[in-house]
């Protein structure tokens, strides 16, 4: 297997932020409005805090094995056969996530921009670009992602300044009118939007040694904090600019908000935003295919296959399935399955492994 080069804390920040963003933010205010209504922002904030707890678990797990990545050290916790099974499942999870993300964004582009262009062409173009980039090393990938970070910043500013076209803070009141139950359900629904921080599972041992584990935790916290701020602000803006009735029928309220802009020299800022946003989606997809390849390559201790072969294999599978999945209803169903899978793979499995690792270590000291 190729030896990874180290990445800086700044690159880790970019990787985590871009992987977290994905497509969910486009529809987050819509999904949350149906559950938590005017308390969407609160649900998203709580979900961000839950994400931070998840980061603590991954960080704790990584700091136990600072020399190896997750797909390699699981053998030390649960043994080689179980490790192979876990890696196989993780690889499949990332391919599945890549498929969903590719489908979701090609669906958005197909509905919003390219009505005549066959969707498979859009999907193919996205997958080719992502597949090509995912064959790179972690450092090269981090460099690409770091370059793309300008686009979500621009997109965020466009959303933020759309507030000048009038907002109504009364829309946020009364707070918690239906109690905590919808907010907690909304927080659960929003959690999948924070998924992506698990890139730390693989990247931990390759982050520059300066500052050690605390610096890694600080970087992760900063990245998650920025994502949380992004989501909360987006939800606040959408809730104050649209009524709950409107949010319930507009699946991508952020793009809709941008239709408000009236600039003499620039037409259709919503279209521009969707093009900008492709860079975010691409970055997330690249990381997914990269992680899938790394998980498969670690099926055996001595390594299995080449990264490029695994990446292009995953891309081909996604493309073939993508040809058959065309109905939006089916894509949404797949998304809800992926939400549950995310909780399992990003929260439950690492948490269980941390407990097992703790018990084993405790047992070792005793013996």
């Amino acid at each position: 297997m190729r030896r990874e080069q180290s990445i800086t804390a700044r690159q880790l920040f970019a990787l985590v932020l871009m992987t977290q963003l994905g497509t969910e933010v486009l529809s987050l205010p819509h999904v949350e409005s149906g559950i938590a209504a005017q308390d969407s922002w609160l649900a998203v904030l709580l979900s961000g805090l839950a994400g931070q707890l998840g980061i603590l678990v991954l960080w704790r797990l990584g700091s136990r094995y600072p020399e190896r990545n997750y797909f390699s050290y699981t053998a030390s916790i649960v043994g080689i056969p179980a490790k192979s099974l876990i890696n196989l499942l993780y690889g499949s999870y990332y391919v599945f996530s890549g498929l969903l993300l590719g489908l979701q964004y090609s669906d958005i582009l197909n509905r919003w921009l390219f009505i005549y262009t066959p969707r498979w062409i859009i999907l193919l173009l996205i997958l080719i670009v992502c597949g090509f980039a995912a064959t790179a090393s972690l450092r090269q990938l981090a460099n690409v992602v770091q370059t793309f970070i300008l686009f979500p910043i621009l997109g965020f500013l466009l959303i933020l300044f759309s507030g000048v076209y009038g907002y109504d803070a009364t829309n946020l009141l009364p707070v918690l009118s239906n109690g905590w139950s919808p907010v907690l359900r909304g927080a659960y629904a929003a959690f999948s939007a924070y998924v992506g921080y698990e890139v730390l599972l693989y990247a931990y041992p390759y982050v520059d040694g300066k500052g050690g584990a605390p610096r890694i935790l600080l970087t992760m916290t900063l990245a998650n904090g920025c994502t949380t701020a992004f989501y909360v602000i987006v939800c606040l803006i959408c809730s104050t600019m649209f009524s709950t009735r409107q949010l319930n029928v507009i699946p991508e309220p952020i793009v809709f908000i941008l239709k408000n802009y009236r600039v003499q020299v620039l037409q259709s800022i919503d279209t521009l935003f969707l093009i900008f946003y492709l860079s975010v989606v691409t970055a997330t997809l690249i990381v997914y295919y990269f992680l899938a390849a790394k998980a498969y390559m670690n099926l055996r201790n001595q390594g299995l296959g080449r990264q490029g072969a695994w990446v292009w294999g995953s891309v081909a599978i996604c493309f073939v399935f993508g040809l058959f999945i065309r109905k939006r209803g089916l894509i949404l169903e797949i998304a809800s399955i992926q939400d549950r899978m995310s909780v399992f793979f990003v929260v439950a499995v690492p948490f269980l492994l941390l407990i097992v690792a703790g018990i084993r270590r405790y047992g070792g000291i005793k013996s």
């Binding site: 005549y116 062409i121 009364t170 009524s243 009735r245 409107q246 239709k259």
Partner: protein, 366 residues
């Protein structure tokens, strides 16, 4: 070589594939007029397509083309128009949706909701009402030597800039509306001499036109009471037999709900305005502090009595223009849950409180 080849290949991807739009084939719909056809079973949809003829650097001759069509929906009307005119109708630049009173009285928003489906449709387009023959208006070549779209939109743009009228963006009303209740006042045009003019606003309740209107003066005050910023709106009136004219420099609105015994007793809408006094008798003695206070009080009283007229008209139309229901639901949710708003709003006690401060008298001393 490989890099150059990749760059050339990428250039091919920039052509927009199947969705490329050729500028020369686009027909930019500037204004859409919607009325019922005579049998009221179908919509009568008129389009004004604007273009620039003899275009040259930095200029050209604006021209507009009128096309009328009908259909059971906006989509059907567009499809029919496509059969009569070559090119692609585009709503990329649509600036105004103009509706007739009879269309507005029925269920206008259920038809207009479909505009949200138009891709690349900017939602900053105005929605306004024309109290006259819509096709006749839109079919004219020019009004006062300007194209019809430029004339109508120019009026709206200018008056909105002066803070005298509500902004009335289409997005505010479609898909259930951005407000808590879809009650609003829509800018109203009416025929005037050989042209048209803005004539106050038409009141809508629950997305339907009530047939009741506010005058221009009432609209301006309603706009201020709705929280519009001071943009030099002109206030005119008479105190102690002396005419005054003043420009609003600053404006701040606040709402106070007085509730007791599980009931809303009164809603006070307070408006604090800062004025620049521009018309007064220059030959009189200089204003003393007492005289100025008396004038401020007189102007406030005038504005309060006009506000009471506005409130009475709004209640008569059952139009909650100030979204008081939202205020009560947000700050007194339990109280609101026990109310039947549509029945109780016309009986609601609403009190205007206007506080006037005269900041200066323009560039002359008085």
């Amino acid at each position: 070589m490989r890099k150059k080849g990749s760059v050339l290949f990428l250039c091919l991807l920039l052509t927009g594939c199947w969705d490329q739009l050729q500028l020369k084939k686009l027909l930019f719909v500037d204004v859409v007029g919607i009325d019922y056809a005579d049998n009221q079973q179908k919509l009568k949809v008129d389009f004004i397509i604007s273009s620039l003829q003899e275009a040259n650097q930095g200029g050209g001759k604006p021209s507009s083309l009128f096309i009328g069509s009908s259909g059971s929906s906006l989509y059907e009307a567009v499809a029919k128009t496509n059969k009569e005119l070559s090119g692609n109708l585009s709503v990329l630049e649509t600036r105004l949706y103009l509706i007739s009173p009879r269309f507005a009285r029925d269920k206008p928003l259920s038809y207009l909701d479909s505009t949200a489906q138009f891709m690349s449709n900017p939602l900053y387009a105005y929605l306004a009402l024309y109290d006259g023959d819509l096709s006749e208006l839109l079919g004219r070549k020019t009004i006062k030597e300007r194209t019809v779209p430029d004339f109508l939109i120019g009026l709206l743009d200018d008056e909105k800039e002066r803070g005298k009228i509500p902004s009335n963006k289409l997005l505010h009303y479609i898909l259930g509306g951005t407000e808590f209740r879809n009650d609003f006042a829509l800018n109203r045009f009416e025929p005037y001499q050989d042209g048209v003019r803005l004539s106050g606003t038409s009141l809508f309740t629950n997305g339907k036109y009530t047939g009741i209107n506010l005058t221009n003066e009432q609209t301006q005050l309603a706009n201020l009471l709705d929280g519009a910023a001071g943009r030099s709106q002109l206030i005119i009136g008479e105190v102690n037999n002396d005419n005054y004219s003043a420009f609003v420099q600053g404006s701040k609105r606040s709402i106070r709900v007085i509730a007791a015994d599980k009931d809303v007793k009164e809603v006070d809408i307070e408006l604090k305005v800062e004025l620049k006094l521009v018309e007064q008798d220059l030959n009189r003695e200089k204003y003393t502090d007492e005289k100025l206070a008396e004038l401020e009080k007189g102007i406030a009283q005038n504005m309060e009595s006009l506000a009471e007229e506005v409130f009475a008209t709004l209640k008569k139309a059952n139009c909650d223009y100030f979204q008081l229901a939202h205020e009560i639901a947000a700050h007194h949710p339990r109280l609101y849950r026990g109310m039947n708003w549509e029945q109780e709003y016309p009986k609601l006690r609403m009190k205007p409180i206007v506080k006037v401060t005269i900041l200066n008298s323009g560039i002359l001393e008085s």
